[in-house]
Symmetry: C3
Subunit: 172 residues, 3 copies
Amino acid sequence: MKVVITFCVILTSFSLASAQSPEQELEALGIELFTPPKPIANYVKAVRTGNLVFLAGHGPGKADGTNIKGRLGDDLTIEQGYEAARVAAIAMLSSLKAEIGDLGKVTRIVKVTGMVNSTPDFYDQPKVINGCSDLLVEIFGEKGKHARAAVGMASLPSNIAVEIEMIVEVIP
Amino acid sequence: MKVVITFCVILTSFSLASAQSPEQELEALGIELFTPPKPIANYVKAVRTGNLVFLAGHGPGKADGTNIKGRLGDDLTIEQGYEAARVAAIAMLSSLKAEIGDLGKVTRIVKVTGMVNSTPDFYDQPKVINGCSDLLVEIFGEKGKHARAAVGMASLPSNIAVEIEMIVEVIP
Amino acid sequence: MKVVITFCVILTSFSLASAQSPEQELEALGIELFTPPKPIANYVKAVRTGNLVFLAGHGPGKADGTNIKGRLGDDLTIEQGYEAARVAAIAMLSSLKAEIGDLGKVTRIVKVTGMVNSTPDFYDQPKVINGCSDLLVEIFGEKGKHARAAVGMASLPSNIAVEIEMIVEVIP
């Protein structure tokens, strides 16, 4: 009996050790979320309806207010695009945390739409949007695996490199 | 007792005065909704699932069947684009009213995706889509504030200036 | 009494005859669904949340792994684009069946977003995406009628002709 209990305690510890909170995962990666800037128009960064949160299209905006700009296939490499998509994911997670308070409430990243500022002959949108997808899975594990679209846009606001939106399922 | 009742009546009147129905707000703005033209293909203008209504992509089509056409950055100014987005919003509200009967059932505009017919060097999609966002907030107040994406498209059907879709939460 | 029962049996038979299952409709059209290839990145082909299934953006990928490539307005005709949209619909139905097991569980195709690889002067995206919409209505009848957007993209991954995503309502 004692052995069984001890074994269970050990199992639970392992399980806890491997299941850090999203906030702890972010900290381990050295990523700091920030207070999202208020939109300067009649829209908001996130709307919750039932147990879904719809995030606005987010650019690769950093905490200091700067953005990663440029077009893939022209003035940005795939690696720079990947980094831009990762920065956009951090911006989305910042808006999501501002909306729901605790990223531990996320039960599933449902859908990501990754829109890449592209020349007509740039065909590697998936490699760019992986910068967002990879971070989501680093933070949320299996819950972070989402349905995705990755497509090329003629142009984006202020010539930002990517604009990404997502739909997230949270606990009721 | 009489004083309390009178006070309540006054309060209620104020509250009613400041909370006009969406239909009254539209009338005050001189906007007339219209019967949406039937799509000529195997799709519809709106689908309700649970308490969400998904609107099809709507162009800037007017009651008389004409459309605002042209590309931003080339043959249309930002002001003309703003007007096109406002006209697309009126078309969407027409389809929404046809679907749910009474715009007073709207509890939240959840998401707007604003797709702007753009040259590669046009970067002001948000200023264009404000034409839709501003009208939604004029009509629905705080309930009209939505998550939004505003992006540049290589081309749109019949060379229309914008195509906008939205997701709306309605009472169950 | 006997007459009534017989009449009911006849009615039921007629009703069954005209309401084939989606799988039977597919077979009648000579369409075979296939096991969708595993995405090679941190995303999945479909995510279910509540009674909605969000499908990833699907290209015109066939069972043999090949894709229909090219740009509308340049190296593909509208007919070829229509065929590409139909192939993308088959790919989506394959992913949907893999997710929910039985297409008879579909209660409504809610939304289709059809993104067409387009030159700036190609304006017939709706005629292309009809290839998807027509098949959905062939398979699901009235339940297959969806809200839709059809738009022109600057470029798509691997230069595929179309990328289409959809949202489907299924039985709880």
